[in-house]
Amino acid sequence: MTSHAHSFAHAPVGGPLMTRPMRILLAFVALGAAAMVWRFAAGLGAVSNLSDGYPWGIWIAFDVVVGTALGCGGYAVALLVYVLNRGHYHPLVRPAVLTSLLGYGLAVLAVAIDLGRPWELWKVPVFFWRWSGSPQLEVALCVAAYVLVLLVEFTPAILEKIAVGAPAGRRARAERWLARLDRSLPFVLALGLLLPTMHQSSLGTMMLLAGPRLDPLWFTPWLPFLFLVSALVMGYGIVVLEATFSASAFGRRRETPMLARLSKVAAGVALFWVLFRLGDVALSGKLGLILSGLGALFLLELALHGGAAAILATAARRAQAVWQLRAGLLMILGGTLYRIDTYLVAFRPGEHWRYTPALPELAITLGIVALEVAIYLWAVKRLPILAGAPAGRQEA
């Protein structure tokens, strides 16, 4: 790659695709796909335990509300890299964009499965004169736009793939497009930061409409802000998890020092979330509720976020991959719990309503997660996603 202008910093991992883990993943995908076919043939009631009391189940609470937050790695890292730290965390960006694209893309798939009348969905962006002020409309439009932005952010990986080993003509075309993309990047990236800020906060606003039926420990006009900060915390968590995984699975260089700097910010944000949430509950006079009902879950949310912040409080632990990972997992768990609590557990439709996900419902969710991991594995093996050559092999 000495003969042309670009020498790319990222390289495909290579290696066989149809490994044992991949076959297991694809089996889950097939199971989920079968459940999905059944769902569209027989209706939502046939495959799910969704009801008039619990109209939303794990597809919304987990696949969409948690899934998009897990897809906030791209958002969290881009915020640091492009706005605040001038390229410092750079090698983390492309894998983070990939996980974001997968998280959001598959959340959209989950929505399409969950919607009762998905064939009307095209009208939402088109019939703009009928738009309401619904926070869900804001989420829908923003998420759709953000998936497009993520695709643009991801295009360089595909163009580089095309350029490598292509005949001169096609390579020149790909490189022209790379240069064009590069020039417009600040504007695309600004959109890539604005849109998650908007829809991740709106995901919080959405549950304000459930007001009277949302447990008071979760109902607060600050829901949008708490959801936004929580998305950043989860974004950092998933970046740490992803970096650790690609280091151990593909023998890539560990990004430990870089993640150490990132962890310091993440710890601050997690601690801020804990203090803000606690302060809000205290100032609105709801502290007494901690002892009743769902108080234990509220405390667990705080403990998970607080625990992550505590782990990363010392420079010694921040510098170690194992503590980074532990803190990252706590952040993911904490954010996941907060979101599932807000959308499912703290939602109280009435005494006689019950919800536990049905088996086909779980099969679809598992299938979507498996599909996400399978595409990730395929992408890092075949596309230039990860930075740096694996140990013992120089970049070709």
Partner: protein, 312 residues
């Protein structure tokens, strides 16, 4: 990370926070309480008059073409609650020596949460009658209306592959084009066969219809005539959730017959105050975008490596 970077980070975080907080923080953005249209149609149900004959349930089925709910036992139409086949139901409350029937259907809120949740106004409030109406052509089946409704009224056809939302629309489809309600015995009524079927069939006058104003006056008349007869000498729906067009008089506590204790503000108030506070005129998002784009351009000009190739 350098201290300046950290400060810059929290500045951006704070900017996002301010954007999110605009609504709750500034009273100027607070949403005006909604008023019922002057000729808002409604119903008044009185538990002391209802004998639980369920004629209204049958009449509702005939008027709306809903299938009998025979899922418990194929021999009987036995809906346990409002559901995908049932827009109106009579339930029984018993506790100790106290008992009461109660009719459930859409409350036709003055400030309906379901309509506020709906993305394309598939559920909307009629500007003339205030009836909360459903148009399936713009419904994607997201069921956010079900999450939002504090009365748990909109129902969904979970057993169908091509489902719809099912809820009482005050028999608006029975009113012939151009027909206006006319006063009959102090209440605004449609010609027979065009009013709400449940009200027209009720043999005891336990549920009647008219404009919200007429019904509110009637309810207060009944309370004044026999003080102490009705729970708290109060009309449910006058203020609850910003007011409803269906009003209730009850001899048992409201919360025992499925009428929740709700604040006098419309349910959408908080969500819309926040949402409109952030997105009014789309100024905050555009400003934030401008700031972000400017910062990135500046970083790039400063020689920072925002592109892939330059980083190594």
């Amino acid at each position: 990370m350098a201290a300046t970077d950290r400060r810059a980070f929290f500045r951006v975080l704070a900017a996002g926070g301010c954007a999110a907080a605009l609504g709750p923080a500034s009273p100027a953005a607070a949403r005006e309480p909604r008023q019922a249209p002057p000729r808002a149609l409604g119903m008044l149900y009185d538990t002391t008059l209802c004998i639980g004959c369920k004629a209204c349930v049958v009449a509702c089925r005939e008027a709306n073409g809903t299938r009998p709910d025979d899922r418990l036992d194929p021999r009987w139409d036995m809906p346990l609650d409002l559901n995908g086949r049932t827009k109106n139901v009579i339930k029984l409350y018993q506790e100790g020596g106290r008992r009461s029937y109660v009719k459930a259907q859409c409350m036709h809120c003055v400030d309906p949460a379901c309509a506020s949740a709906c993305m394309l106004h598939s559920l909307s409030k009629d500007p003339e009658t205030g009836v909360v109406s459903y148009d399936p052509r713009y419904c994607v089946g997201c069921r956010y209306c079900q999450v939002a409704c504090p009365f748990n009224v909109p129902k969904f056809e979970f057993e169908k592959a091509v489902p719809k939302i099912v809820k009482c629309e005050l028999c608006r489809h029975r009113v012939q084009a151009g027909v206006e309600p006319a006063e009959v015995g102090g209440f605004s009524r449609y010609p027979a066969g065009q009013g709400p079927a449940c009200c027209e069939v009720c043999p005891r006058g336990a549920v009647i219809y008219g404009t919200r104003e007429e019904l509110l006056a009637e309810a207060k008349r009944r309370i004044a005539a026999t003080p102490g007869k009705y729970y708290q000498d109060r009309v449910y729906g006058e203020h609850e959730a910003g007011g409803t067009q269906v009003l209730y008089l009850s001899h048992v506590p409201f919360d025992r017959i499925g009428l929740p204790d709700l604040a006098p503000e419309g349910v959408p108030k908080v969500a819309y105050t926040v949402q409109e506070g952030i997105y009014k005129g789309f100024i905050a998002p555009v400003a934030l975008y401008g700031v972000l784009a400017a910062v990135m351009l500046r970083n790039r000009r400063a020689g920072a490596p925002p592109t892939e190739e330059e980083s190594r």
